[in-house]
Assembly symmetry: C2
């Protein structure tokens, strides 16, 4: 495993934000990610909270706009944000559409040509990146949680529900909560996974939660003025129904007047970080 | 005076971030600005805090990255952020350099061709924009303060020191504090004000503070790892010396390891907003 290359770093709330690149064996090319190391990480290991970003985002949007570092410093959490896809892989069509290919990896392991050669974001996020982080940063490998926004909310729910022993808690902002029923999900899944819709269910949070084996309450915020809610891209009500069927504890908050932007994310980031800190930080639990 | 056109808005911390454009008579063209209206403004007038941004920024950077809305909502302050220059004015050379023309108005009223036709940012910020805000938003016209970053820190200090009755308080992040002695300032002032350096002193905070008539303590933060500090662009020590000469109260904090980015600004934004709220908000003063 190659070590991450530090591209740039900035002090922030007593810790440091760093941008990194490395060669990914899962994605067979360069991947980028950002890390916020809280001040507590200078003297001891800390829990780690992964954030998965939405369509068109890079590893920078969340670090620059969400206001999470103040809270990560308060609770002593490391933040790790991967990019949303491989880039410049040479895959035909990767830059043609904003909702497929570059910036739109959907946290899936593609099985179809031409995507399968590089678009292995699920394995990257659940295996390769944590290995790299555990080896190179002062984190407790057994104290990790995950959250995300929009496409990344889908990704966070899928990663947690498929690996309930790995992730201690999960939350999401405006997730694509039932992608096999949404236009974005149908487009991405048909490209990455092919036409057999049975295979799609393995990356659909509203299907996965029916397994009933995630042990911690799930927190989801969605803005009522989110245009993608009205378009049927998010479908939190489908996820809610699945949770009810199996008794999965869910706090679904419909936030009056909020849209899909980071102005929405930043408003409720404190509740989400606290949701994770309550589970990850011994002194709070 | 034409009313501002709302371009887009987003709910944020119980209030609303809005982006506007309007025809500016001072700059003879379209100008843009952003406003954060805190929840308190729905039911009463509130004090207003202007933020002036740095080179290359627009009216968006601060709103997206500084994390100020949480605090403006807490204290009940309206935030107003103008763009950093006129744009697409047709002025010859306006887009040639990143540190002159577009994105680099320096909050000066230009007296030289070709700039003087549109680059009247000082008058715009101290007169036209406040008139527009006072008329169209729920603010107390006699409760306004100003702060800024880098070029905008210079602008904020100049606006406040030249108008000590208008601005109740001032603060700055990494300001160009003695522009007539810095490469950025020398370049901009020679373009906008001509070769007579005597005229430059009227837009130099370290000269203006010698008048000794600003009544409130000034807060300035500068990161010790700021590359522009090492390059002699900021010169906080010159401003500090001027303050000492006339007994101007100054809290100058050299923040160990911080750079020039919004990761630095966001870390200390709470102290700055509180600095202004202590003066602007009756219940705190």
């Amino acid at each position: 495993m190659s070590s991450p290359n530090l591209i740039r770093e900035s002090a922030c709330f007593g810790g440091v934000v760093g941008y990194y690149s490395h060669h990914s064996s899962a994605c067979k090319g360069v991947m980028r990610f950002s890390v916020y190391q809280p001040p507590q990480a200078q003297s001891s290991q800390v829990p780690v909270l992964y954030f998965l970003s939405g369509l068109t985002c890079s590893e920078e949007n969340f670090m620059a706009k969400a206001g999470a570092q103040r809270l990560a410093a308060k609770y002593g959490l490391m933040l790790v944000v991967p990019d949303t896809s491989p880039r410049e892989t040479g895959t035909p069509g990767e830059d043609n559409d904003w909702d497929i290919g570059t910036g739109a990896g959907f946290y899936i392991d593609a099985t179809e040509d031409p995507w399968k050669a590089h678009y292995q974001m699920y394995s990257y996020v659940i295996e390769e990146l944590p290995e790299l982080i555990n080896k190179n940063f002062a984190v407790f490998p057994d104290k990790q949680s995950i959250f995300g926004h929009s496409m990344g909310g889908h990704g966070a729910l899928v990663c947690a529900l498929k690996n309930p022993q790995t992730y201690k808690s999960v939350s999401a902002f405006a997730p694509i909560a039932a992608p096999i029923q949404s236009p974005w999900g149908e487009k991405a899944f048909s490209h990455y996974l092919g036409s057999n819709r049975e295979k799609w269910r393995d990356y659909d949070a509203s299907q996965l939660v029916l397994r009933g084996d995630f042990q911690h309450p799930i927190l989801i915020d969605v803005g009522t003025a989110d245009p993608y809610l009205a378009q049927g891209q998010l479908l939190p009500e489908v996820f809610e129904q699945s949770c009810m069927e199996v008794g999965q504890l869910l706090t679904l908050r419909m936030q009056q007047g909020y849209d899909h932007s980071y102005y929405f994310v930043s408003t409720f980031i404190e509740d989400h970080i606290r949701h994770h800190a309550m589970v990850l930080c011994d002194e709070l639990s």
